[in-house]
């Protein structure tokens, strides 16, 4: 368990943070730019000192201002992957990695060869830093941080400076890290799709404070999250299991709550567990069974809550039996359909709207 409670005041900026991350696990620190995410991870790293606070990884206390414990950053055994990689330009890739390996303290759980294999670094080892692409730099930076044998890995928006294709060069490696090495990670991001793919735990930040934390499913329903991701990215994250795969169309039927959702994705097989985000703007609400529609997905449920959303729209929470999804509906429609809590409805989702970047295999 990573436990963090810190408070810091610098002029007009105040930060107050409190969260716990079960280890091993990946916590996404999620919030708008400038809300204090980077400051918070610099505090965890020890590069900044809080006015007061307590930070511990499992039984090891790194900081406790009430009893005067302050472990220096260099002795915390925390790996840090910076947004701009920060590889040493005077050293080749291999030497950058060895730099970390030589200074690693404590139990070694991963070796040079394993790290190079895991992150596909072999072809890069003899290169100079300026001969690497952005994605390659980040992979080397991740490898270097790992070779320090960290108890915790901090990643400060490692993909932000990369474009879409380059991001895809790094994301799968981070997934491997989580699944194969089980290194606890705190991942700073303001892209929800990254959070969906990597995180087990979400910590929401706003205006210098942690405002909510929990598993990604329940967190995706929180109104605070809506403010951060923007109206178009609002949508429930739910887990489901693949029931069957239709041989011809490539459509897979996924059990979600009591209903079934059909979605199009490559490489799915029966029994596989999935996590998908269904965007609220892609869900249509009907009060009766629809007729003559091209929509492939109709899931029965009950209205749980109706909340005001952006301009003239409402967010409807629909319980589909053990899972909840969100739908955005205009205020007019709410009146016309007489939507109210407890009303049985059918949620319609277009198959193509569940794209690969909103889906994760569990």
């Amino acid at each position: 368990m990573l436990r963090v409670r810190v408070a810091l005041r610098r002029g007009a900026f105040a930060l107050r943070a409190r969260f716990d991350l079960p280890t091993p696990g990946v916590a996404a620190l999620f919030g708008r730019s400038g809300c204090g995410k980077s400051t918070l991870i610099n505090l965890i790293a020890g590069l900044l000192e809080p006015d007061e606070g307590f930070i511990a990884i499992d039984e090891r206390v790194l900081l406790d201002t009430s009893s005067g414990i302050r472990i220096a950053a260099e002795a915390r055994r925390i790996g840090y992957v910076f947004q701009d990689a920060r590889l040493f330009p005077h050293l080749r890739v291999a030497a950058n990695l060895r730099y970390a390996e030589r200074r690693a303290a404590g139990a070694r759980y991963v070796g040079f060869d394993e790290v190079s294999a895991l992150l596909a670094l072999e072809p890069l080892l003899e290169r100079r830093v300026h001969q690497l692409s952005g994605g390659e730099k980040q992979r080397v930076a991740i490898g270097r941080a790992l070779l320090g044998q960290p108890r915790l890995l901090l990643l400060d928006e490692p993909l932000t400076s990369l474009d879409g294709a380059r991001r895809e060069e790094v994301l799968p490696y981070l997934e491997r890290l989580r699944d194969q090495l089980a290194v606890p990670m705190v991942y700073v991001s303001h892209q929800f799709d990254e959070v969906l793919r990597l995180a087990t735990h979400v910590v929401l930040m706003d205006a210098g404070a942690t405002i909510a934390e929990g598993e990604i499913g329940p967190m995706s329903l929180r109104p605070e999250l809506r403010r951060i991701v923007g109206a178009d990215a609002v949508g429930a994250v739910i887990d489901g299991e693949v029931r069957r795969v239709e041989a011809d169309g490539g459509l897979a039927a996924v059990q979600i709550g009591d209903g079934e959702l059909r979605l199009r994705a490559a490489g799915l097989a029966p029994g596989m567990r999935l996590r998908v985000q269904i965007l609220a703007r892609d869900v249509i609400v009907a009060t009766g069974d629809p007729q003559g529609l091209s929509v492939r997905n109709a899931v029965r449920g009950t209205v749980r809550a109706i909340a005001a959303d952006v301009a003239d729209a409402c967010l409807i929470t629909i319980d589909v039996g053990g899972a909840e999804i969100l739908a955005r509906v205009t205020a007019d429609a709410v009146r016309e359909l007489a939507l109210a809590e407890g009303l049985p409805v059918v949620a319609l989702v277009k198959t193509v709207s569940i794209s690969a970047d909103r889906l994760r295999r569990l």
Binding site: D84, R86, G148
Partner: protein, 230 residues
Amino acid sequence: MIWLHPSERTALWLSLEVSVRSVLLGLPPAVLIAWLLARRRFPGRSLLDALVHLPLVLPPVAVGYLLLIVFGVRGPVGGWLHRVFGITLIFTPNGAALATAVMTFPVMVRAMRISLEHVDHGLEDAARMLGAGPLDRFATVTLPLMLPGILAGMIMAFSAGLGEFGAVITFVSNIPGETRTLPLALYTALQSPGGDAAAARLAAISITLGLTGLLFAEWFARRVRRMLGR
């Protein structure tokens, strides 16, 4: 150099020797002060900065005079060096090196400081997160990345040192074979009847040395930039 008069050759070698010694003398404090000025915030930082640059704006004769007061045989530091180590600076090549070091110190610190300011502070934080303590970070990240600036500063200080006149002649006088460096020999030649040809030869050497130093510094800087991919 065959066509040089033996005394001129002596002056040339003495100049090179004094300049090398002045660079070696100034190097450690210059690295330290460049690092302090570029990386640390402390009270008196502006004053230190001004003191380092003082030789640039003072008349060199004034610097020589101050050195005489402090490092003369009766001076507070000079007297102590004489008593304890038997070192005399006044009228010696070492004294000339000291005067040259003081005069070229601003050039050296400036080059190192500018290069250090271009080194991303974040790299030191990255080293820190990998377990490197303060000295380790300085030796393995800061210093290597400062190295181009250090070498550029040394080359510049060496070249500038070859031409130091006022402070040297004031502090250690103009003694053939001891303190008569190239510019002093040039001055002496100009003061003697029929010394025009010697003065011209010495001036030509000075120009050649200065030009070589500047070109070398530039070539070196380009090479380093390429190596670091900037």
